[in-house]
């Protein structure tokens, strides 16, 4: 029994070492993808036709191809034509670009869901475009898009496991290593608990934001 607890503890520590990468990649992606998503969404509803087409093309490509393929391309594909990125850079870049594409569409839908009358009211109060967006529209958009953003944030936790194809050691890879060493399922159980813990924190965090923003409605 005691040796089993020790095994459990050692395995958890080993897997936690791997999860450092998971958390790092997660943080970088969230920090960049959410603002990018908002900016690109604003660009997608702008007056400029070319800009709209460009953004549509971008979301079409990045939502329409597997993230795994995109990772392969950025890491191995670009190295063939001489652009050699370090594994973390390549992974972070791909994740940010991929997740921004999804978030762009979420925020675009959010902005378009706001009633036209509000723009007119803002104009009547002599607000310009940026004032309207910042003071009236975006706070409501944020509130409305919290649930789909939370969905994406949860998916991202699990998607980070894809970086094993770049030879990087993340949470799941550490568990896999223990699995192939010990032929026991325990490491996978530990990994599952750790993933659940992470998503629990995220869900809790988004619930808090939701509460905070609920004053707008």
């Amino acid at each position: 029994m005691e040796s089993y607890i020790k095994y459990l503890l050692d395995s958890t520590i080993f897997i936690l070492e791997g999860s450092v990468l998971t958390v790092k990649l997660y943080a970088v992606t969230i920090i960049f993808a959410i603002p990018f998503g908002i900016i690109l969404a604003l660009m997608k509803i702008s007056r400029f036709k070319t800009l709209r087409y460009l953004i549509s093309f971008y979301t079409w490509v990045f939502r329409g191809t597997p993230l795994l393929l995109q990772l392969f391309f950025t890491y191995y594909g670009l190295s063939i034509i001489g652009i050699t990125l370090q594994p973390f850079t390549a992974a972070a870049l791909t994740f940010v670009v991929n997740y921004s594409a999804y978030l762009t569409e979420i925020y675009r839908a959010g902005i378009e869901s706001i009633d036209k009358g509000q723009y007119e009211a803002a104009r009547a109060l002599n607000m310009d475009y940026f004032q309207t967006m910042r003071r009236i529209i975006l706070p409501q958009v944020v509130r409305r898009t919290i649930p789909p953003t939370c969905n994406e944030a949860i998916t991202l936790v699990k998607d980070t496991a894809l970086v094993v194809v770049l030879g990087m050691g993340d949470l799941l890879r550490s568990a896999k290593e223990l699995f192939s060493r010990d032929f026991a399922i325990t490491p996978f159980a530990i990994a599952a608990v750790l993933y659940l813990l992470m998503t629990t924190v995220i869900v809790y965090f988004f619930r808090k934001i939701e509460d905070k923003y609920s004053v707008y409605e």
């Binding site: 191995y76 190295s79 050699t84 594994p87 094993v164 030879g167 890879r173 192939s180």
Partner: protein
């Protein structure tokens, strides 16, 4: 009365003894089962040239081990099916029964022997260190502070673990799903060296002439065998027999020459 009880008990004990003995000496049914099924399933990493990989025609799995397995099946009077599985879980797949053998340049190691049985060895292999052609690394000592790549769960990983001093001197070990990815990263110079089976390394060097070179020092020699479940004794015996035949006749020689240009099968 007392006497009859003693007789009864001793009779029972001897009966038990006989039963357990016959159970031990009884042959297992693995060979019969495979013959009844009409085929056996070879599990492999299908990105492991030249042992087993996807050819350009019809995306079929081809390779040295594939040809050997087909020939062995023919001589056993059954068909053979190939099933790609993840290499790092391959022993698990074997013991679980998803596949019947691992025939995929599998190195016979003590660690694996605790979990599975092996056929007689059929090839010699070395764990070599490959570097980029223009690299200035010429010895193991010069790997100090460098990044080394290898396949996760491979015997290359074992070999490095055994060379503990070397492992400690490295900056990092990058572990890939397969050797092809490791070599791609070596070509992109994101790793400084790759530890790999000589058989596989040489094949890749022939495919990409002038891209890589091999260090004189290696991480030891080893033997390739076919991985079989521990209980499949009769199947192992039958397989060993046909393997011995193939190793010593024209067909084996032809297969070896086809993939390696010479006959390197162990006699």
């Amino acid at each position: 009365m007392k006497r009859s009880i003693v007789t009864l008990v001793s009779l029972l004990i001897s009966a038990l003894f006989i039963v357990s003995c016959t159970k031990d000496s009884a042959k297992d049914k693995s060979l019969e089962q495979i013959k009844a099924k009409g085929y056996f399933v070879v599990g492999l990493d299908d990105q492991f040239p030249p042992m087993g990989f996807r050819g350009t025609d019809n995306n079929e799995i081809i390779g040295f081990d594939i040809d050997l397995a087909k020939e062995a099946a023919k001589r056993l009077g059954v068909r053979v099916e190939f099933k790609p599985v993840a290499w790092d879980g391959i022993i698990f797949s074997l013991n679980k029964g998803d596949i019947d053998v691992v025939w995929n340049g599998m190195t016979i190691t003590e660690e694996r022997k605790q979990k599975i049985e092996f056929s007689k060895p059929y090839l010699n292999n070395r764990q070599i260190i490959m570097v980029a052609a223009d690299s200035n690394i010429t010895s193991k000592d010069m790997l100090k502070g460098k990044i080394v790549g290898l396949q996760l769960g491979s015997s290359s990983e074992n070999a490095l673990n055994e060379a503990a001093d070397l492992k400690k001197s490295l900056k990092d070990v990058k572990k890939y799903e397969n050797n092809t990815l490791a070599l791609m990263d070596l070509a992109a110079k994101r790793v400084d060296a790759v530890i790999i089976d000589e058989i596989v390394g040489r094949w890749n060097m022939a495919k990409k002439p002038g891209a890589f070179k091999v260090l004189k020092e290696d991480l030891g020699t080893e033997l390739y065998g076919v991985g079989i479940r521990k209980n499949d004794i009769t199947f192992k015996e039958a397989l060993d027999k046909v393997l011995d035949e193939i190793k010593n006749d024209k067909v084996g020689e032809e297969i070896s020459k086809k993939w390696f240009g010479e006959n390197i099968l162990l006699k």
